[in-house]
């Protein structure tokens, strides 16, 4: 088992986000966590890489309980295994595209020199389909290009796991599909384990081996793409078909 989330609980003030969430992720698979807006999908991802600590429960990565890691060096050793594509790409505005991609290399891989870091950055940018952009600033890029650069930065230090936080949100359908293709392509070329969160079902079906649904702080179903498509669970069924009618009640007006 590559990553195990065991009985995670997390509250932000009175807001109960995770309430006993458990999930196992296997080596080499692409696991997608689906769920409504604000249900705690991104919070769950941040627990996996140690950006957030659970109030209760454990996150085990390659047999190591990362929630127990107190020392910064231990945490960075865990984070070295992960590449994280953020929702809005989270590129550093003050650095050029090339420096953004090389940033992790310079910090996480101590043996990589400056010229080598630049060369690797160019290679990774080529891998996500970008050429001759390393001198540009993030503000000069389109939304889709930012995602690609974010992806190049996430894979630059050759992590074992890649995490995608809503990889297609905010992109047009065609660009979304290109990003999906890119994720599948990287999966084949790098044979990494991927964890994605999304509420875009087209993307989820396309990129995943398995899909898990998070609802009210718990995983209510895990299955292969086919199993999720034909599920009997009324909650999952309602979500994947995108219907306002069903057991999940979203108020039309907040005061109702």
């Amino acid at each position: 088992m590559a990553i195990q989330l065991c009985n995670l609980y997390k509250n932000f003030g009175p807001n109960k986000v995770l309430q006993g969430m458990s999930l196992d992720i296997q080596d080499g698979e692409t696991m997608t966590i689906i769920g409504g807006s604000g249900c705690g999908k991104s919070v769950c991802l941040k627990h996996i890489v140690g950006l957030l600590k659970p109030d209760k429960g454990e996150v085990i990565v390659d047999g190591i309980n990362i929630t127990a890691a107190e020392d910064e060096e231990d945490l960075f050793a865990v984070q070295n295994k992960f590449g994280f594509l953020f929702q809005g790409a989270a590129l550093f505005d003050s650095l050029s595209v090339g420096d953004n991609v090389a940033f992790g290399l310079r910090n996480l891989k101590k043996d990589v020199g400056d010229s080598q870091a630049r060369r690797i950055a160019r290679e990774k940018l080529a891998l996500v389909g970008l050429h001759d952009v390393d001198h540009l600033k993030p503000a000069e890029l389109s939304g889709g290009m930012k995602k690609r650069v974010g992806l190049a930065r996430a894979i630059a230090h050759e992590p074992k796991y890649i995490i995608y936080d809503e990889p297609t949100t905010g992109l047009d359908p065609i660009t979304s599909d290109v990003i999906n293709e890119l994720i599948i392509d990287l999966q084949k070329k790098l044979s990494v384990t991927s964890i994605a969160v999304t509420h875009d079902m087209v993307s989820a079906y396309k990129i995943s081996n398995r899909i898990a649904m998070l609802y009210e702080g718990k995983i209510i179903e895990v299955g292969t793409t086919q199993q999720i498509k034909t599920t009997g669970n009324p909650y999952v069924r309602q979500f994947v078909t995108g219907s306002s009618q069903g057991p999940i009640k979203v108020k039309l007006r907040e005061w109702e």
């Binding site: 941040k46 890489v49 950006l51 910064e72 960075f76 984070q79 070295n80 992960f82 590449g83 994280f84 953020f86 929702q87 809005g88 989270a90 590129l91 550093f92 505005d93 940033f103 992790g104 910090n107 996480l108 930065r153 230090h157």
Partner: protein
């Protein structure tokens, strides 16, 4: 005790604790890790060199108006403008130089640090730093903190001299005081007087940098949150500078400095 007052007290205690932890982390990082010289110099330039024009103009006019007001007031009392150099010197060196420079820097640099770090927080760039093996306190906080800490005293000394020059201009041109009389009064001052002002700026620098970093790193809620943080950084810094100024002055005077 009513619930909302209790909540408010808890909030104050919590914030004090968090600020102390942040200062602890900053100091720990300064002592333990290697400070990135390039980042530090970039911040020192931004805080120091880029503030020279606005600090210069502010202190020039403060020196000028001090000479003008004190000159005319003494003329009304003594029929001649006595002690203008002394009044301008003491006021600038001990109070107006350090306090006004700190307030200008709080407005210029405190706001920009809070807005920059706040934007990085809400766009998840701070999280991205962590996932790329970089501690944001070390990468973003330390250079800004050290930059402010080293540059504010330098800016204050610069402001002191510009202010004294402003006072000299008005004294000689407008009030007809001989140049040597004004300058003799300045030269006659103890070095402790300058030290009194400069000592305070280290504390003011700590207030401005810590407040800006704290509210910046704690920003939430998108563009509105960044706006809120920026305002908070400036207002809190200014109020704390003025409050701490009184206690610092009392403390320094009690120890015979200035």
């Amino acid at each position: 005790m009513p619930g909302y007052i209790k909540e408010r007290w808890f909030k104050i205690i919590e914030t004090t604790g968090d600020v102390t932890l942040l200062v602890g982390d900053l100091l720990k990082s300064i002592v333990r890790d290697k400070v990135d010289l390039n980042l530090f110099l970039a911040q020192a330039g931004r805080i120091g060199v880029d503030s020279l024009p606005v600090v210069g103009v502010t202190s020039l006019f403060v020196g000028m108006v001090l000479a003008l007001q004190s000159g005319y007031s003494f003329k009304n009392v003594f029929n001649e403008p006595l002690f203008v150099g002394t009044v301008v010197g003491y006021s600038i060196f001990k109070e107006l130089g350090p306090v006004l420079t700190a307030i200008v820097v709080a407005g210029r640099i405190g706001a920009s640090i809070a807005a920059e770090l706040g934007t990085m927080k809400v766009t998840e760039q701070i999280d991205a730093l962590y996932t790329l093996g970089t501690n944001p306190i070390r990468y973003l906080g330390v250079p800004r903190f050290l930059g402010a800490f080293l540059m504010l005293p330098v800016l204050t000394v610069y402001a002191d001299f510009i202010g004294i020059f402003g006072g000299w201009m008005i004294s000689t041109w407008k009030l007809g005081i001989p140049s040597m009389t004004y300058l003799d009064e300045i030269y006659g001052m103890d070095f402790d007087v300058i030290l009194h002002g400069v000592f305070k700026t280290f504390v003011f620098a700590g207030i401005v940098a810590t407040t800006a970093c704290y509210v910046g790193f704690r920003t939430y809620g998108g563009a509105e949150g960044v706006g809120r943080s920026t305002t908070k950084a400036v207002v809190v810094s200014m109020v704390m500078i003025l409050i701490s100024d009184y206690f610092l002055s009392a403390f320094l005077v009690a120890f015979g400095i200035g």
